[in-house]
Assembly symmetry: C2
């Protein structure tokens, strides 16, 4: 099987899926995105789904990353342990057939600090490959389960997860605060107030004020942004304390990246350097290309 | 209407309801408890429910407290503002009829720190009336929305809410950690490990390890207790920082009181003095009796 020509890259997550036909020079020739994440696929339906992607994007080699390699995905692909780089990910590919492979996630098998990731490792090796990331760096990948990743010598050496995005979603959907949390969070005064109130490690002690203010007739303006500032502020403070107060590169969704950049600038007292927000989709595609270059 | 004889006391919450026939000397003559909280009662069904309670416990005067006085209850009873005591609660009763009254909650109308409570104020005036609480004290009422309350001169002067119980319930029911969080939290080694890891204000940064440890084949023993220790530990540390490092009296469910007592002993480095866990149901009944004594 030749990986010299175009190939299909798939970022297959829990709830969403993105796929691209990529030319040898990295150009995106065609793209599609839908809500066909792994939880939307019936048992044993993954081969059919892959065939449908090929029918749409071309009968080409296909490399997949993300939760598709988890116990709820197509195959439960064993994690590559830290330290990990593009070569380790290439060696750990689980081959469905000679032209369809699933990239492994990365684990930190330390019993006192167990960690796992699936998807962010592809973004990170992509950022390294295209030199958006230096070989020694701190990286933050915002998301449902935000990852903070220490890179040394071009390898992922350790990382930690904050469930910030999931906790925010739980509060927005299921908590007594749900009516106050309708709408999107965005940088600004309310977000900054939340980041400020996250000092002292007491983010959860400020949330109920959103309900009480509403009940007492003086609701806080832009409550979603305030709550987001509380939770992201708490994460940023804790992560900087754990990983050292350096400016992380932000890799992922650019809307989340803007919130994290605002929180980081506020907590550190200085703006992030230029180029510190890296688009996660582009990094993911570059990551699969870097892994392909390491194939034997 | 005479309140000299026996009366019916009702603690009517969001999901549960408890009612007692109480003799003039405070003895409980009959009791009932069910899941008929306010969210289980159809619109305009509260009068019928009250009649059913009288059919069961006696055709007697009835005093009610808790969420029954909220915008989702029988009447939206205006809060008594801090500072508040039994007399203020008596004056704020909303009379459905001459022998059926709903006790108000208490609010802290400060725009920068708005707070509301409904139910805990009755427990606190009860604890004060029977001298389980001294007139100057810090009180913690664990629960879905835990309250920390400063009492001065026998009055509620300020308080704050932590959504610890609700966040724990959200994680247990709806999060990726739900499979790991089945079962009851209890004091012990796992709970203590969670309290220890809550130092540094980073409780949310330790939760995902429960998932990663499970995935990597070395799950943490007694994960519900560890997670509970993380969240209660974070609350206790933050509340002591805000209200001063004094031993609070714990008023409420005795199982939650035991968890909070364990966390407080660990964080403060010394056990709570004897008598610092006060049964919330008994305190609630004493509170309604104290309010009745203040009726004109």
């Amino acid at each position: 099987m030749s990986w010299e020509g175009p190939f299909i890259a798939v970022d297959w997550g829990t709830t969403n899926r993105r796929a691209w036909r990529i030319a040898p020079d990295g150009t995106v020739e065609e793209a599609c995105a839908d809500t066909g994440g792994i939880t939307a696929v019936r048992e044993r339906g993954f081969a059919d789904e892959a065939a449908a992607l090929r029918a749409r994007l071309g009968d080409l080699p296909m490399l997949l990353g993300g939760m598709i390699g988890s116990d709820r995905g197509w195959r439960n692909v064993p994690y590559a342990p830290c330290p990990a780089d593009a070569r380790a990910l290439a060696e750990g590919i689980d081959w469905i057939d000679s032209r369809t492979g699933i990239v492994p996630g990365v684990c930190q098998p330390h019993p006192a600090a167990p960690e796992v990731m699936r998807g962010e490792e592809v973004q990170i090796v992509g950022g390294l490959a295209c030199r958006a990331l230096p070989p020694d760096a701190l990286v933050c990948c915002p998301g449902t389960h935000a990852k903070w990743v220490r890179i040394e010598g071009g390898r992922i050496v350790r990382f930690a997860t904050w469930m910030t995005g999931e906790v925010f979603a739980l509060l927005s959907r299921h908590s007594i605060l749900a009516p106050q949390l309708e709408g999107e969070a965005q940088p600004g005064a309310a977000f900054a107030a939340g980041v400020a109130d996250s000092a002292g490690g007491d983010a959860l002690g400020h949330l109920f004020g959103l309900r009480a203010g509403h009940v007492l007739g003086h609701p806080r303006k832009d409550a979603p942004s305030y709550a987001s500032g509380l939770l992201i502020g708490a994460e940023v403070r804790a992560a900087l304390a754990r990983f050292g107060d350096t400016a992380p590169a932000l890799v992922g969704r650019t809307d989340l990246g803007a919130l994290y950049a605002a929180a980081l600038a506020q907590v550190r007292g200085k703006p992030l350097p230029p180029g510190h927000i890296i688009d996660g989709e582009a990094a993911f595609r570059e990551g699969l290309r870097a892994i392909i270059r390491e194939l034997p």
